[in-house]
Symmetry: C2
Subunit: 324 residues, 2 copies
């Protein structure tokens, strides 16, 4: 073990932030400015799911950035400027006592008085050809983000649950036509959402259908689907494919540490505190999150302000950093 690693592992940090998407970067900015010298852990370059967004139109205050990746870059540079640069490491295990949280990571071990979990959620992919290549070029996992780019055009929505139908209702008001592609012969979404989508005049359904391939060279031009009963394939000509076949919170390492909901999302109170008083959660993996950049940022700041209050209030022994 190098001296540097040993020093790090001997230190008790005020705050470790897990994940450098918008929630984690917002927390980095606030806790960095607040003098907490946070450790910000991420295995990628930061920005999280923002990187896959083609063009961000709905993040308030930002109109001049071209892509999601550029917005992520600005947030990362802000966090860095306040001392919250990204440490490349991945959490494997968390252990928490009343006074201390210990994070065992792939490269090092961190001990902290507070931990903010902002590791996000992953969209469950279709795992078909074209999906990855055309992501952000017509393949989308966010109707609210990208729907407005397809005004008047035909699009497909894949899925039959609440999220898929809710997003299809949203899209039906904006685009020309929506085809919902669903593996079964009926929707799983709640009845009232079904009422709404069946009342829409510009929506039709490809029942019992599975996506085989998303088509297009530089951008989506269609989707090939297969009838799972007859085995027949056909191509729908669409300008976009919105995939809502589930979201998976990146919370595996929190099992047994804090309370999760039935889908693995982290339960918090309104101050973003989990069932463990030293562990907070923010952003897409928080139960009830509407999974937008702006709400992740809000969560991250909200959590950080309350973490600062918690640290100020609960640890009289914490060394006060004087400037004089």
């Amino acid at each position: 073990m190098s001296d540097q690693v040993a020093d790090q592992e001997n230190k008790i940090h005020d705050l470790v932030i897990i994940g450098a998407g918008p929630a984690g970067l917002a927390a980095g900015i606030y806790s960095g400015r607040g003098g907490l010298e946070p450790v910000l852990l991420d295995m990628m370059g930061g920005g999280g799911q923002v990187n896959i967004i083609d063009k961000v139109e709905n993040y308030p205050g930002v109109i001049d950035l071209e892509t999601g990746a550029e917005l992520a870059d600005v947030m990362r540079r802000q966090a860095e400027s306040f001392g919250a640069g990204i440490t490349f490491d991945q959490v494997e295990k968390i252990e928490a006592t009343e006074e201390l949280v210990t994070l065992t990571c792939s490269s090092s071990t961190y001990r902290a008085r507070a931990v903010l979990v902002a590791s996000g959620a992953s969209h469950r992919p279709l795992k078909v050809p074209g999906e990855g290549r055309l992501m952000g070029r017509g393949v989308s996992v966010c109707a609210t983000c990208d729907g407005a780019f397809f005004k008047g055009q035909s699009v497909a929505v894949v899925g039959g649950g609440d999220a898929a139908v809710m997003e299809a209702v949203y899209l039906s008001r904006i685009v020309g036509h929506v085809t919902i592609i669903h593996r079964r012969d009926q929707l799983r979404a709640e009845k009232l959402l079904q009422d709404r989508i069946f009342a829409a005049q510009n929506v039709d359904f490809a029942w019992n259908s599975a996506v085989e391939e998303i088509l297009g060279d530089k951008e989506v031009t269609g989707v090939r689907i297969k009838d799972v009963e007859t085995g027949e394939s056909r191509v729908l000509e669409v300008a976009a494919v919105f995939v809502f076949v589930g979201v998976v919170p990146n919370s595996g390492f929190l099992q047994g540490v804090v309370e999760l909901d039935e889908f693995g999302f982290v339960k918090t109170d309104m101050n973003m505190q989990t069932s463990h008083p030293r562990i907070y959660a923010a952003g897409d993996l928080r139960a009830g999150s509407v999974r937008q950049i702006g709400t992740a940022v809000g969560d991250g700041i909200n959590a950080t302000v309350h973490i600062q209050e918690m640290l100020n209030a609960s640890i009289p022994s914490r060394q006060h950093q004087t400037v004089s």
Copy 2:
């Protein structure tokens, strides 16, 4: 009554947003994009308290704007681009039934299926000479926003409650010296916060002191205070005066309509829904808000997504806007 006013008053809007600060503008962006054709009411040009911030450094994603007013302007233009321009009107009374909310305003009356209250909170002013003139030029109501501009310098904090002491603790880690100016001979803040501030080596106190005037030509150079017992005045040379003598939510028109906390802040659940199912609240006037631009934006988006779900789910009679 003009035909235009009569038309407006006969219409049932999907959503009326009260207040065009960051929370209201974020809601305008999202609900405009979502096809709700929101009415966004404000008596000023929009932006709310953001306009008084000298330089915004802690709003994630924004580094190139000079002033708070510029950030407010970008958000306003975004909202306008999605059809959510500001209507200049002021709410005087709200009446809500199970199905409908009616807002009596100074110029017109609005009926809506959902209302988002984002009218913010006002910092209680000292009401002394120099305060208004030097606001944003050394006079601040937000240590988190402005503290970093006074690294190594001497500043004053006015107030003795939790907010004042919490902000003084924050400032003491960043600036050179803090003088807390308080009208009484002891702090009102909770004990643990007091422990922290008394442990700081770069903080002193002007007890039994009232601010008479904030001094400076183009920026703050000092503050004249008066000992309320001896009547003697003296000048403290400081580069900034942070005023925390209370915050007042702009919620008077909500009395008896939705549940407020003891200070008049609006109680909501985690989806920003108040005690009335068609009235939501977002931003600084929400009970528990940490009153940052980023959290107001998050609140506004969070509220809007849930308002859209509520409208989609609860009103089967709502006309579906087809595009075909």
